[in-house]
């Protein structure tokens, strides 16, 4: 039964992810309508065979904008995770390997970052950095650092007493090589799981920031921003919210399922 459930997570999660990845790739070459061309006479049309998700307040095709919006979601997600993993592994690795007061200082600082409710820290950072795809990714990347650093640190603390590390030290391998060439590959699975969760959280957070009008800005299409625009027409055109809201939920759900499946595959002992 458990094995069956794992497979469902894996199949469903990767299916969702591949569909959205496919959408993103296609959107670089083709969208049914131009993403930004306005057609005011046809504004706020209900879903039909011509516009399967309807049109927005400027008469733009919502389906095309959903397709294009997947680019924004993946770019922000990927940038965020890259920043988070790079600095998280560096900080967590040094803290765990060196130990002592460096460990204490680094990790207390990470604790302090985690003490902020996520969205509050994100809002403060975008207040300083300003809106836009890059600034949003930097802000969310900073937020992703502590969780990756914690996972990495605990991995390093466990591994550094292992015999292969002692042996490497004895034959005079340099510390940075031990850390990143020998220890890091051994804890990569934990980092991958943490990174995939960070990816899902980043996509949700990007949508939230853009919904609040502080993340991705027009003309860059963003699902969160579309929901903000849709809310003004909520009562008259409720279907306007379904496509962007559904897209965010589905993609984030897929990522969570996949991260669960990866965790179960990499650590057969975990059964939560």
């Amino acid at each position: 039964m458990r094995k069956y459930a794992k497979n469902i997570n894996l199949i469903l999660g990767s299916l969702i992810l591949f569909v959205f990845l496919g959408m993103m790739v296609v959107s670089f070459f083709y969208t049914p309508y131009d993403v930004n061309s306005m057609d005011i006479p046809n504004k706020l049309q209900e879903p039909s065979s011509k516009h399967i998700f309807g049109t927005d307040e400027f008469g733009r095709d919502i389906f095309s904008r959903i397709l294009k919006g997947s680019q924004t979601a993946f770019i922000v997600g990927a940038l965020t995770v890259t920043i988070g993993v790079f600095f998280g592994v560096l900080i967590g690795g040094i803290a765990g390997y060196v130990g002592g007061w460096i460990d204490e200082i680094f990790m207390r600082f990470m604790d302090a970052l985690m003490a902020f409710p996520g969205i509050i820290l994100a809002l403060m950072l975008v207040a300083v950095f300003g809106p836009g795809i890059i600034n949003t990714s930097i802000a969310l990347g900073i937020i992703a650092i502590p969780s990756i650093a914690r996972v990495t640190r605990s991995g390093f603390v466990q591994q550094k007493e292992a015999e292969y590390v002692t042996a490497s030290k004895l034959i005079g391998v340099q510390s940075y090589k031990i850390m990143f060439k020998h220890i890091l590959p051994n804890i990569s699975s934990q980092i991958i799981v943490a990174a995939s969760i960070a990816f899902a959280i980043a996509m949700l957070a990007e949508a939230a920031l853009s919904y609040l009008g502080l993340g991705v800005q027009p003309p860059d299409p963003s699902w969160g921003r579309m929901l903000k625009d849709a809310q003004a027409y909520l009562i008259a055109s409720p279907w306007y919210t379904y496509a962007p809201g559904g897209a965010i939920t589905l993609l984030v759900l897929g990522l969570y399922l996949l991260s669960n499946a990866i965790r179960d595959m990499m650590d057969p002992r975990s059964n939560s």
Binding site: M1, I8, F116, I119, L123, G213, Q231, G245, L253, N260
Partner: protein, 313 residues
Amino acid sequence: MFYIIRRLLLLVVTIALVSIITFAVFQILPGDPVRTMLGTEADETQIESLRNELGLNRPLHEQYVDWIKGLFTGDLGNSIRFSMPVSTLLMERLPVTLSVASMALIIVVLVALPLGIFVAKRQKKFSDVVLSSVTQLGMAIPSFWLGMILILYIGMNVDFFKISGYIPWSESIKGALSTLILPALTIAIPQIAVKFRYVRTSILEQMQLDYVRTIRSKGLPEKIVVYKHILKNALIPILTIFGLITAEVVAGTIIVEQVFALPGIGQLLITSISYRDFPLVQGIVMYITITVVFINFVVDILYSVIDPRIRLR
């Protein structure tokens, strides 16, 4: 006692670091913060007077010490946009946010706890796969979209609810409830979806222990076994989990206030970011974070009082 002192020390360190981060972030603003705040049309005298007013001509550490003092005396300087003390603005908005957040918390506890017990008792009927899908969905759905769905399906169909704006408690209790229940539900539903499974796990773990087998074999009715014995022990880990919700509920309130046009601290924070009212942003961030950190501290202490084993870890 040692545990409490150590935990208290950690609290002080965390709050100190949080305040340093909050202070420092606004120092790395690219360019001149005063110019950014006033926009491009400001002339030199305006810029100079605002800089003096904000005390930006003094050394950094003096500014920080002043700001920290203000934090504890409730004087965080003036908002640029409203030309009013930051603390006055916060106190004005606090009742709305506090009402939504505490209602959401109450709903989560009132629903997640019985639901968790319910599914734990019928362990065979509800498979893990189904329950975990519910949780994953709760984690994936953005709260602002859920809010819109609740407006469409409940707010528009039940006359009682107002879908936007706020009526103060002092004006009408029924009015306040009509504006607050839907936002509170919006925050609570995803939390319930995640937390009821913690309750379930906690109870199922207890069920496997020896003492439960013993009291069962004594022939105690199942009701007493579950509610009197298991629940009492299972509540300990559950308490921590509900302590951890506060941060998420507070964060949820910030966003959901926007969906229902509630004039709370979240709305204040978001408009102050748009208006580049940085003293106000700093103050709000600091107070919200301190509140969350402090609640977590209290939960930790309570936990150690109820379950002294935790102090040894």
